[in-house]
């Protein structure tokens, strides 16, 4: 899926006229702090994704403003597009800590926005996905679960609401056993659905991940991606629910003592294994990052399965922390027809990579300027013409 143009109002430091993007590669160069990441973040908002850097939604508003808007034109024939026609207009309005999505002016849900603009992002925070806290890995798994099961988001929200209620009850003295068991019942119901969707997602993700890790020639053999959970590895919703209920009953005295929920999907993690042992501690940081690339490509594969066009792939600061060899292979592995956004602090960044034809942009002070065409049709990209300075 492609986005042809993008305009923003009051979104971080972004300014200037609407940007027109290339359906292939869009390389955005610029010094740090000029707005490269913000541009990708604006696209992420449009695509119904969570904000980068774990920030609160309102943090994307420019200083002194109360609402931000991002609009972009998606799909449609490129020829018509150049005359300003064709395709749909997607929009997102950010205000009072909330987001509202629009399609051609009509309000749509966030899930719909995600389906309309399937996308995969790699940013600085993904560098530590394998070694960092489980929340990042859970979020990556949940993105796949969302794509496979439309109700995953509301189930997850219901589970977390019930868990917050139960936690409060655990802290009460004396705890009301009937009310506790009522909220546990809701947790078990929603939690079993979350658990089931995650198992399905993990299974598909594991297969795609292994394939992509081989593509990127990871030195590890017998790689797998495994869901670590308090609940059984497989089983239907009813089985998972019964197990979960049992586990909560068993943990009850300890939960009462510590005032926290000690079992359930909120503790899920995803482990990357080589054979029977986790890879993260054994791998060099470069090897770990190659596996993150493989994971990301696997996510893109699964999104492609769910849609008729490859997802948009955006890769922030792609050449600074990732090793050149896996970048080469990453570039080769990106499916044909993918719209790619790469940002870099170095203008010569893509010269040796096998990338599709595209546009070169410079980001300065929140303003995006097209500087030239990149050529190559999946041969090594070369700067064919330079319209701007340099």
């Amino acid at each position: 899926m492609e986005i042809h143009s993008l305009s923003t109002e009051n979104f971080r430091n972004l300014a200037g006229p609407p940007a027109e993007f290339h359906p292939g590669l869009n390389l955005i160069v610029g010094d740090n702090g000029q707005g490269k990441t913000s541009l990708l973040e604006a696209i992420a908002f449009l695509a119904g994704r969570i904000p980068f850097r774990g920030s609160a939604i309102d943090e994307v508003l420019s200083a002194g403003t109360s609402a931000a808007v991002v609009t972009g034109r998606r799909g449609g024939p490129p020829a018509a597009d150049r005359r300003g026609q064709g395709g749909d207009v997607l929009g997102v309005r950010i205000q009072d800590g909330r987001r509202e999505h629009f399609l051609n002016g009509e309000k749509i849900g966030r899930l719909r926005a995600r389906k309309l603009l399937p996308s995969v992002f790699l940013t600085a925070e993904d560098l530590g996905r394998l070694t960092g806290p489980p929340a990042g890995r859970r979020a990556a798994l949940d993105r796949v679960a969302h794509a496979l099961e439309a109700r995953h988001g509301s189930n997850l929200k219901a589970y977390e609401t019930a868990r917050a209620a139960k936690t409060r009850l655990l802290g009460a003295d004396p705890a009301d056993p009937a009310a506790l068991s009522a909220f546990e019942g809701v947790m078990a119901g929603a939690g079993a659905q979350v658990a089931f969707a995650r198992r399905r997602a993990a299974e598909k993700l594991a297969r795609a991940f292994r394939r992509q890790a081989d593509e990127l020639r990871s030195p590890f053999t017998d790689l797998s991606l495994r869901l670590r959970s308090d609940l059984p590895e497989s089983g239907d919703e009813a089985t998972l629910r019964a197990h979960f209920q049992e586990r909560m009953t068993a943990a009850a005295p300890e939960e009462r003592r510590r005032g926290r929920c000690l079992v359930g999907p909120h503790r899920d993690d995803v482990a990357v294994m080589a054979g029977e042992s986790p890879v993260a501690e054994r791998a060099s940081s470069g090897e770990n990052r190659t596996l993150v690339l493989a994971w990301t490509l696997a996510e893109a594969d699964l999104l492609l399965e769910q849609s008729d066009a490859p997802p948009l792939v955006a890769f922030d600061d792609f050449d600074s922390e990732w090793d050149p060899l896996s970048l080469d292979r990453f570039a080769e592995a990106v499916p044909a027809g993918t719209q790619l956004f790469l940002t870099s602090a170095r203008p010569g960044a893509v010269r040796s990579l096998p990338l599709p034809t595209g546009s070169l942009f410079r980001m300065e002070n929140g303003r995006l300027r097209r500087e030239g065409i990149l050529g190559g049709a999946r041969g090594p990209a070369r700067l064919l013409s330079a319209e701007g300075a340099r």
């Binding site: 109700r151 509301s154 189930n155 009937a178 009310a179 009522a182 909220f183 809701v186 119901g189």
Partner: protein
């Protein structure tokens, strides 16, 4: 952010009151306030009188806690309504939703909310104790709380309290999305959930 003119304090006060109403934002509050100033005096007086008399005469039924002008309410005293069948709802407005279906022939019990530990609402803050008191003589309780976390938990809680008393406890078979409220259900959906109720 309000543009109320400082030389019109009474107008500002009306705006502030209107803005506190559900579903009324600053823009519609302004439109309503201007409208109320522009209508002929009897029409404005009629609204004032309607609010005053409604607040004076509408009370909560001492048996089922639904809204009524006579206590007990007409539903509680109607001999044609089946006293062995009880629908438990969260809010008085939910009674209207079920009544509109014209299919429910039992009586009601309004809880006055749903369990919500985060908002400090426990069983003692709801009309749970007198629901249990009404239990003798009731054969089936239909739990018609909202299909969201608090409503589901409240239903599970009540089932746990009522089943040991030998009552058949059922839950609406919702065609509503999770997280919704029955307040917005149309008659067809509501009739269907009523017909599709399942034993808890």
């Amino acid at each position: 952010m309000r543009l109320a003119s400082p030389w019109l304090p009474a107008f500002g006060r009306l705006l502030a009151s209107l803005e506190r109403l559900p579903g009324v934002g600053p823009k519609s509050a302004r439109r309503l306030a201007h409208h109320l100033l522009a209508v002929p005096p009897p029409q404005a007086e009629e609204l004032l009188e309607a609010i005053r008399s409604c607040r004076e005469r509408t009370i909560s039924c001492s048996v089922c806690h639904a809204l009524t002008e006579a206590d007990p309410c007409p539903i509680c005293t109607d001999p044609a309504r089946d006293e062995r069948l009880l629908a438990v709802v969260e809010a008085p407005s939910d009674v209207d939703v079920l009544e509109r279906t014209r299919e429910f022939r039992g009586r009601y019990h309004v809880l006055g909310g749903a369990l919500s530990p985060l908002r400090g609402v426990g069983p003692d803050e709801l009309h749970v104790a007198d629901l249990v008191q009404r239990a003798p003589g009731v054969e089936e309780v239909i739990l018609a709380t909202n299909p969201n976390v608090e409503g589901e938990a409240t239903a599970l809680y009540l089932a746990r309290r009522l089943k040991p008393l030998g009552i058949r406890v059922t839950r609406l078979g919702f065609g509503l999305p999770v997280g919704a409220s029955i307040e917005f259900a149309d008659e067809v959906t509501m009739s269907r959930s009523l017909a599709g109720r399942r034993e808890v």
